[in-house]
Symmetry: C2
């Protein structure tokens, strides 16, 4: 059983969180014996996301329990996190407990500030690539990658890239057939019209 | 000012609602003088979505106010709506007031049951194309289309297709440059990994 937690916070970018949620949710719904998905935040309850939608965390960090995968989304709410010693210490603590730390968009800035990306390849939203390099010059910033799988740390580029990263993780954790099933169920045959 | 309402309900599919929310939200955030986005439901408050995430409606149908665009997502929660005379009457009433009625995924089944798609082209999730034809045999079911723009009624295929439909609507309502700006900000250069 793979237990996946998506971390919510004030000013999280909606699709950063809900894109992976949908992918992992399709997996967990089809195969409840394989995967479980939880939404958690600093404390249980509502958070107001960056584009104004309110999302609800069912758990807080104290009661979320063991996780196999932690997804840290990005969004405007990551800016204060970069200077929040308590949050960065919590991220480092998660790093020592959770086998697979993933991020979407500017979530990787938080991982960089916490020291998780030292000497490693990583990416982020195109508008924050320079900031990622500034936060930790030892990072091998992958400017052209949709996502970067470095084993126990996986980062994605901006917003919608979390969907591709999550599908990749389903393939990695449960096989390509399962990922293809998820892709088909969410009819993910994107055709950007412009 | 284009006022866009995304309708939430119990067992709404998460990405059906949040994909378009992110697209329209990027537009509204960049150009608050052009667009406004609201999440509403039968009554204000939380709804539990189909993959277990709780989303929050800021408004109910009685206080949402004038809308220029209404987005009806799909999800397991549309099944009871197809037999809910009150909901179908409300949809017909919206049809008479809202200039642009859009749906994602199985949201179009609800539109079909309400009579909105009589004699018109439309689409839905691949798994519900036959059901769409059964609900109203006069519908010209477009099995291969990502979305179908029939002027005042626009329907999309499954789940992730709402993102493409919403980008198309931004282009239609505000021009291709604005839609490209939104696409770039959400880094929507999809690369399905499987």
């Amino acid at each position: 059983m793979t237990r996946i937690g998506i971390f919510l916070f004030e000013q999280v970018e909606e699709l950063d969180a809900v894109g992976p949620w949908e992918v992992f949710g399709m997996w967990a719904k089809a195969c409840p014996e394989e995967a479980e998905l939880v939404a958690f935040a600093q404390a249980p309850g509502p958070v107001r996301a960056a584009k104004g939608l309110t999302l609800h965390a069912d758990h807080g960090i104290d009661d979320v329990g063991r996780l196999d995968v932690l997804v840290h989304p990005g969004g405007a709410g990551t800016r204060p996190q970069l200077k929040d010693a308590g949050h960065l210490a919590w991220v480092r603590d998660q790093r020592s407990q959770v086998p697979l730390m993933a991020s979407v968009c500017t979530g990787s800035l938080v991982y960089a500030a916490a020291g998780l990306l030292e000497g490693r390849p990583a990416t982020t939203h195109w508008g924050s690539l320079d900031r990622l390099a500034e936060l930790d010059p030892s990072i091998d910033v992958r400017r052209a990658d949709r996502f970067v799988d470095d084993g126990d740390v996986v980062t994605s580029s901006g917003v919608s890239a979390g969907i591709d990263m999550a599908l990749h993780l389903v393939a990695r954790l449960a096989g390509a057939d399962r990922a293809r099933q998820v892709r088909r169920n969410m009819q993910y045959d994107p055709q950007p019209p412009i």
